[in-house]
Every structure is written in structure tokens, then in C-alpha cells.
């Protein structure tokens, strides 16, 4: 194995306004903005991380959280090797949504996808607000489903890098194994290959049939 760059395609999922874009902004630019415009569709960002003798390049698709945009999500997670499912530790509803995302990922996404469950906005609790999602509850979900689990604050930066490092540590081994076992299977190769890009057709087919225009 050489020390070349490993690309990891990663997708963020979660209810609106739980802080998905803020986690990415913290990770990519070490920055924070109190009020970020809602993400529309999805935003793409990259970040390189050195891990010992090799470099991991995260190719991140930060998806929009609103339910109406959910039909776009499959084309972003379909060939992802990693997913962050984010919820807000002060919003129980967002944890319910996170459960749904985990379920959907297990059903629809690549079998080898590494999922991290991330409870964000820890800073609000530290400032005295009431926690609404118990750490134990989230931990047990993570255990049941085989997820990595973190509680973070994009605002303070607490734990954010650890999420990505955790994923980085878990993936190269897996992908290396896959490479050895069933090399060309594609979807979870070491490099992002061409067909692991977002696939339009899935959601588009739906749309064209709905609009009745098959030209």
C-alpha cells in the first residue's frame, strides 16, 4: 500500500437547521456563522486530513435538511462511503429524523457505508439550556446500528474534527479489504471513481414520469 491520497465521499443528512452546514464549515474552514442561509439542494466541499502516513481527502456533500428536498438525498448518499447523520441535542424531533435517516441508509445506501451519528449544538446545553436527547439514548442507537457516535458543537468546534478522524480511521481499512476481496465492485473503492458521482437518473425518472414529458 502506498501513501497516496485516499478520497472518501461523505454525505451529511439530518433535519433542517441542526447544524449540518456549520459542522462542515467548522471542519473545512474552522469557522462559524451564527445564521447561515438554509442549504438548497446540496453544497459540495472538500478537506484533506493527514492521518499518519497517508492523506485522506473528504469529498463532502452537505444536503439540504428540509423534508421537501429529501427526494434528492438518494443521489447524494447512493455511492457515499461515509455519512454523518446529524441531530440537534436540544430538539427531540431531530433525533427521530436521525433514526429515519439511519434506517434509510441501511436499506438504500452502499452496504459498507460508515455512518456516524452526530448530536450537535452541545454548546447550548453547556450554556444552561435543557438537553432533550439523552446521550445514552443516542449511544444505544449507535450501538444497535453499528454507528460511530459523537456529540459536537460546531460553534465551539468541540469534537468536530474527531468525527471526521473517526470516519477516516474506519474507512481505509474497510476499503483496503474490499479492494483485495472484490476489487472492481465499484461503489466503495479507494478512489472515487467516475460512476460514484451523484446519479441523476434515479430522481429524474420520477420527475419526468410525473411531468409527462419523455423527450
Amino acid at each position: 500500500m502506498n501513501t497516496s491520497v485516499t478520497s472518501i465521499k461523505l454525505v451529511l443528512l439530518g433535519e433542517a437547521a441542526v447544524g449540518k452546514s456549520s459542522i462542515v464549515l467548522r471542519f473545512v474552514s474552522n469557522d462559524f456563522a451564527e445564521n447561515k442561509e438554509p442549504t438548497i439542494g446540496a453544497a459540495f466541499l472538500t478537506q484533506r486530513v493527514n492521518m499518519g502516513d497517508h492523506t485522506i481527502k473528504f469529498e463532502i456533500w452537505d444536503t439540504a435538511g428540509q423534508e421537501r428536498f429529501a427526494s434528492l438525498a438518494p443521489m447524494y448518499y447512493r455511492n457515499a462511503q461515509a455519512a454523518l447523520v446529524v441531530y440537534d441535542v436540544t430538539k427531540p424531533q431531530s433525533f427521530i429524523k436521525a433514526r429515519h435517516w439511519v434506517k434509510e441508509l441501511h436499506e438504500q445506501a452502499s452496504r459498507d457505508i460508515v455512518i456516524a451519528l452526530v448530536g450537535n449544538k452541545l454548546d447550548i446545553i453547556e450554556n444552561g439550556a435543557e438537553r432533550k436527547v439523552a446521550r445514552e439514548e443516542a449511544e444505544s442507537l449507535a450501538q444497535q446500528e453499528g454507528l460511530l457516535f459523537f456529540e459536537t458543537s460546531a460553534k465551539t468546534g468541540s469534537n468536530v474534527n474527531d468525527v471526521f478522524l473517526g470516519i477516516g480511521q474506519k474507512i481505509p481499512l474497510k476499503t483496503a479489504q474490499n479492494q483485495a476481496q472484490d476489487g472492481g465492485r465499484g461503489s466503495s473503492g479507494l478512489r472515487i471513481n467516475d460512476d460514484s458521482r451523484v446519479d441523476l437518473r434515479a430522481s429524474n425518472g420520477q420527475a419526468t414520469s410525473a411531468s409527462g414529458c419523455n423527450c
Partner: protein, 580 residues
């Protein structure tokens, strides 16, 4: 791969540069212009309807005074629905650029692309465009080719020249011009600004004339549409927008009554929705609530609690009344140009530009704010009526637009399309947002508002079914060929290619749907960056398109973009008739 066909005789986009520097150079005349704009609207503001005649005169007088110096130049501005703004210099292959080819080389690399697009145009096309493209500097200077003026101390200019990514060539001739004599440049600059002032006065007067017809009870909407395509003076914008979008009726006598009624209807609607009998739709309310502080976070206006409450009422009421789509993120963006524009009606002339910074409670009463709110609500409703499919489940409207954009780009810039395919760049990855927010995330608010002048002129229906249902504006339709079946006529494919749009009938048949025209604007926007994009890989492309270099764009850039979109639409309307 990546090697693009080059054309040797690409002409530098002289007029483009010219317009650019023109708009951004501050000077005496510029400030005079501001003052005139201001005094005009101040008086209107305070004196009301009766004083409008005198205001009109005031704006006419300097115009007449100046008319002699530049009568030719004011003409193109009022003709041809934006075509005058297009410097289709690539079409005029033989014209400029012969004297300083060396220095223009850099620009050539920028215009090569555009040159290529238009190669399939026939002679007639270029002839028409040439007519409307009579170079201003030439007439002003006895036919001598002009260099762009030196704009001393113009920051904007400076920024522009440093960002080739904005799609404009830098201005290498500046040094040369400098040495050729500063005095004449200042003279030229002054003259141009006089011309600009003149054309502005003329425009203001034209709008006054249309909005206050002396011997008619109805506003000529086709005429208004034609004029508004090229931009609406700020003092007229609130009124004109209400008319163009079909909210205010063309019948002048009915205007007040109808607006009062609609505003009352809004107040009643709000009262009902927030009364105890109405069960709050918590998820919708919650979604809107979290998006309000995130709407235009960089514009102070939207951080004032009073404004945020208005926004929330507008969006919630709209969502409740449109359950098929409900509130979708992006709609919060779409309401703001209306809100902001209607607020300017209550601002002193000199402050109108500052609407984004001033708290409304310093200049209007709560009742007036609710009127602004009501007008914003109804206009948002009218706008969204045209693009309902964008926000219903699965957002088929947007997906279709994205698909159309891809097909269109394949036709007008096959190299770029091929490159995207090769790099696995999917249009939906960057264009979804373009459609969902009507490019609002890509441009500054003032540019968006200018864009909407054209959008509302180009696409909205003054006689939509709901307006007709009002029973108050049935006559509106007699103005247009949309009379019997607005939607039917709407879908008709126009076979006319009259770019000049002199006749209202032609104009009407040109009317397209918002989602259709918007796709052409998106295509024009994308291919603007073609030269850069062609050298980018997947990641660079997506990153670039997510944050396109538009910060330094001025109105003339927007106008150029809209005009290009209009040309594309005219050229490809047959090829895209199946979109409808």
C-alpha cells in the same frame, strides 16, 4: 481535450467595457443625477397624485435642455427590449480592434467563446442587432473609436479589472488612453454622463407618462412591459411591479379600491390564521421560524424583529393557503425583493438605496408596514403561481428546468457540455439552487431586483385567472392577445422573431413562462464562465459554481446577461417549444 477552437477576428467587447466604466464612475453629473432622482420622488411622495403633473414637468425640462447634445443616444435605451444593451460585438467581426490588436489579445481570449456562439447567426440577425447597437462613443466623438474612460478613484472598476472571472476583459488600454490626453477623456466622460442623465430623465418621464395617461383610464400594460424590460426607475418600481405581476389592475380608477380590498383581505387572512379557531400547523410554523433569521443574514433589514415578524406572517399565511406545496426553503428568499421594494415607497428619496439598512419603524407606521406586508404577500402569491411545480412534492418543475438547462447548454456550448459529461458534473448539482431560488443566491439584492424588472416584464401575466376572478380586471385582457384564454396563449409558440418588439401584439406573443425564461438566463449565466469552467475538474467546477464571482457585477452586467438570455430564447424557441 480542452483545446477550444479559436477565432482570430474576435472583437474586444468595447461597449461592454464602456458601459461598465460608465456606470461606475462617480462624478458631478452622477451626483446631479442622484439629486434629480431624489427631488423627483420626494415631491411625489409628499404631494401625492395632484403634484404628479408638475413632477413630470420637472423631469421633462432638463431632458429637453439636454436633448440636443445626445438625442441619438437616448434612443437605443428605449427600444428593443434590452437588445440595445447587448453589445453583440462578436457579430460585427470587422468593426473594432484593428488599432491595438496586441493589447486586445487578452480580451480576445474572453470573447472568443461568445464569438463562437454566434457563428450560426445569419446576416439579418447581425444587421438588426447592429442597428440597435449604434455605438454611443462613435456618435459622440465624430466616429473616432473610443477607449474606455479612465475612471479615477472608482473602486468598483478596480475590483472588476482584478476579477477576470466575472467574465469581463481587463482594461489594458487604460494606460494608452491616459497618455493620449486626459482632458478629452474627462470631456468624454462628462458627455457620457450627460447622456446617461438625459436618458434617465427621459425614462422617468416615459414611466410617468404611462403611469398617468392624460386621456385614458387604463394603463397601457404592453407599453409598460416594454419599457420596464430595460429596468424600472426606483421611484416607479413599487407601482410598476404591482402592475406587471397582475396584482394592481390597469384600470386606474379601480386601483385604489382593489388594493385596499386586497390589503384588507390579507389582514383578515392573518387574523383568521392566527386566531384561536385555527390550529397552528406546527411543523410549517417551526420551519419558517428557523428560516427567518437565516434569510438574507447579511442584510440588516432582515434582522429587525419587526421585519422578521412580517416575513413570518407572509410565509406562514402563504404556506397555509397553498397546502400542495407548503413552505419550501427558498420561498423565504423570494419574498424579500418584493418586501424591500415596497418599503422604498415610504422612504425619502435619498434613502431609498439604504432600505436594507434602516429599520422600517423609523419611517412608517405599523399600519403602513402591514400594507407593505400585504402587497408583498399578494405579489409573492402571483409570482409563485407561475412556478407552482417548483415547490410541490418531488419538485418536478425544478427537475424539468434543470434537464432543460442541460439540453440547452448542449446546444449552445457543446464543448462545455461534453466537458461536464467527462468530469461527471451533473447539472442538478449546481443548478438546483439556481432554479429553486431564481438565482437569488448568486447575486446581490440590488442585482436581483434589477433582474426582476425584466422577469416581471418578460413573463408575468396581467390577466391570470385569479385576477379575472376578482371581477375587477377583466378588461385588462383586452389589451393583449391573451384575452380569451391566457394560459392557452401563453403556451403558444411565437413564430415571430421581431427583436425590436415595436408592436404590443408581438410583445405579447413573446411572453414566456417564468420558468422558461429563467432557464435561458441560467444558460447565459453558465456559458459566461465557459472559458474558465472548461479547464476545471469536477471539484473545481462545483466549487466555482457554488460561489460564482458575481460580487462585482453591476447593473450593466445583469442587463447584458438578460439580453443574452433573450437572444438565446429567440434563437432556440423552436428547439425548446417542447418545454411547454
Amino acid at each position: 481535450m480542452g483545446v477550444r477552437p479559436t477565432t482570430t477576428n474576435a472583437s474586444p467587447t468595447q461597449r461592454e467595457m464602456y458601459q461598465k466604466s460608465n456606470t461606475s464612475s462617480p462624478s458631478l453629473v452622477g451626483s446631479l443625477m442622484k439629486t434629480l432622482k431624489s427631488s423627483n420622488s420626494t415631491r411625489r411622495q409628499s404631494a401625492g397624485e395632484n403634484a404628479e403633473g408638475s413632477t413630470y414637468e420637472a423631469s421633462q425640462r432638463p431632458h429637453r435642455f439636454l436633448a440636443r447634445s445626445s438625442s441619438q443616444n437616448s434612443l437605443p435605451l428605449h427600444h428593443g427590449r434590452g437588445v440595445s444593451h447587448i453589445h453583440m460585438s462578436p457579430l460585427r467581426k470587422s468593426s473594432s480592434g484593428n488599432s491595438n490588436t496586441q493589447k486586445d489579445r487578452q480580451q480576445h481570449s474572453h470573447s472568443q467563446k461568445r464569438d463562437k456562439y454566434f457563428t450560426d447567426l445569419d446576416e439579418d440577425w447581425s444587421a438588426v442587432i447592429d442597428d440597435y447597437n449604434t455605438p454611443i462613443p462613435m456618435t459622440a466623438n465624430g466616429g473616432i473609436e473610443l477607449k474606455p474612460p479612465v475612471s479615477v478613484g472608482s473602486k468598483k472598476e478596480h475590483v472588476d479589472s482584478r476579477s477576470p472571472s466575472a467574465g469581463y476583459p481587463s482594461l489594458p488600454q487604460l494606460n494608452k488612453t491616459q497618455s493620449s490626453g486626459l482632458k478629452s477623456q474627462y470631456e468624454q466622460e462628462n458627455e457620457r454622463e450627460l447622456q446617461e442623465l438625459n436618458s434617465l430623465m427621459h425614462r422617468v418621464a416615459k414611466f410617468d407618462e404611462i403611469l398617468h395617461p392624460s386621456n385614458a383610464t387604463r394603463i397601457n400594460l404592453s407599453e409598460l412591459r416594454r419599457l420596464s424590460w430595460n429596468g424600472i426607475p426606483m421611484i416607479h418600481r413599487p407601482r410598476v411591479w404591482r402592475l406587471l405581476i397582475g396584482y394592481a389592475p390597469a384600470n386606474i380608477k379601480r386601483q385604489n379600491t382593489l388594493l385596499q380590498r386586497k390589503r384588507q383581505e390579507y389582514r383578515d387572512g392573518v387574523e383568521l390564521v392566527f386566531s384561536k379557531e385555527h390550529t397552528r400547523d406546527i411543523p410549517t410554523w417551526h420551519q419558517i421560524e428557523i428560516d427567518i433569521p437565516r434569510t438574507n443574514p447579511l442584510i440588516p433589514l432582515y434582522q429587525f424583529p419587526l421585519v422578521q415578524q412580517s416575513m413570518q406572517r407572509i410565509l406562514y399565511l402563504w404556506a397555509i393557503r397553498h397546502p400542495a406545496s407548503g413552505y419550501v426553503q427558498g420561498i423565504n428568499d423570494l419574498v424579500t425583493p418584493f418586501f424591500q421594494t415596497f418599503l422604498t415607497e415610504y422612504l425619502q428619496a435619498g434613502q431609498k438605496d439604504d432600505v436594507g439598512n434602516i429599520s422600517p419603524d423609523t419611517y412608517l407606521t405599523y399600519e403602513q408596514l402591514v400594507e407593505v406586508e400585504a402587497d408583498s404577500f399578494w405579489c409573492l402569491t402571483k409570482l409563485l403561481e407561475q412556478i407552482t411545480d417548483n415547490y410541490i412534492h418531488g419538485q418536478p418543475g425544478i427537475l424539468k428546468q434543470v434537464k432543460n438547462l442541460g439540453q440547452l447548454v448542449k446546444r449552445i456550448d457543446s464543448d462545455l457540455h461534453e466537458h461536464f459529461v467527462h468530469e461527471n458534473v451533473e447539472f442538478i448539482q449546481f443548478a438546483f439552487r439556481w432554479m429553486n431560488c431564481l438565482l437569488m443566491r448568486e447575486f446581490s439584492m440590488s442585482m436581483v431586483i434589477r433582474m426582476w424588472d425584466t422577469y416581471l416584464s418578460e413573463t408575468s401575466l396581467e390577466s391570470t385567472s385569479s385576477a379575472a376572478a376578482e371581477g375587477s380586471s377583466m378588461t385588462v385582457a383586452s389589451d393583449t392577445s391573451l384575452q380569451s384564454s391566457p394560459v392557452g396563449a401563453f403556451r403558444e409558440v411565437s413564430s415571430s422573431t421581431n427583436l425590436q418588439g415595436k408592436h404590443s401584439a408581438v410583445l405579447t406573443s413573446h411572453q414566456t413562462s417564468l420558468s422558461e425564461f429563467h432557464v435561458f438566463v441560467c444558460a447565459a449565466f453558465l456559458v459566461k464562465f465557459s472559458d474558465q469552467l472548461i479547464n476545471m475538474d469536477f471539484q473545481e467546477t462545483i466549487t466555482f459554481l457554488q460561489n460564482p464571482p458575481t460580487k462585482s457585477w453591476s447593473e450593466s452586467d445583469i442587463e447584458l446577461l438578460l439580453s443574452e438570455a433573450y437572444i438565446w430564447q429567440s434563437l432556440y424557441k423552436d428547439a425548446t417549444s417542447h418545454w411547454r
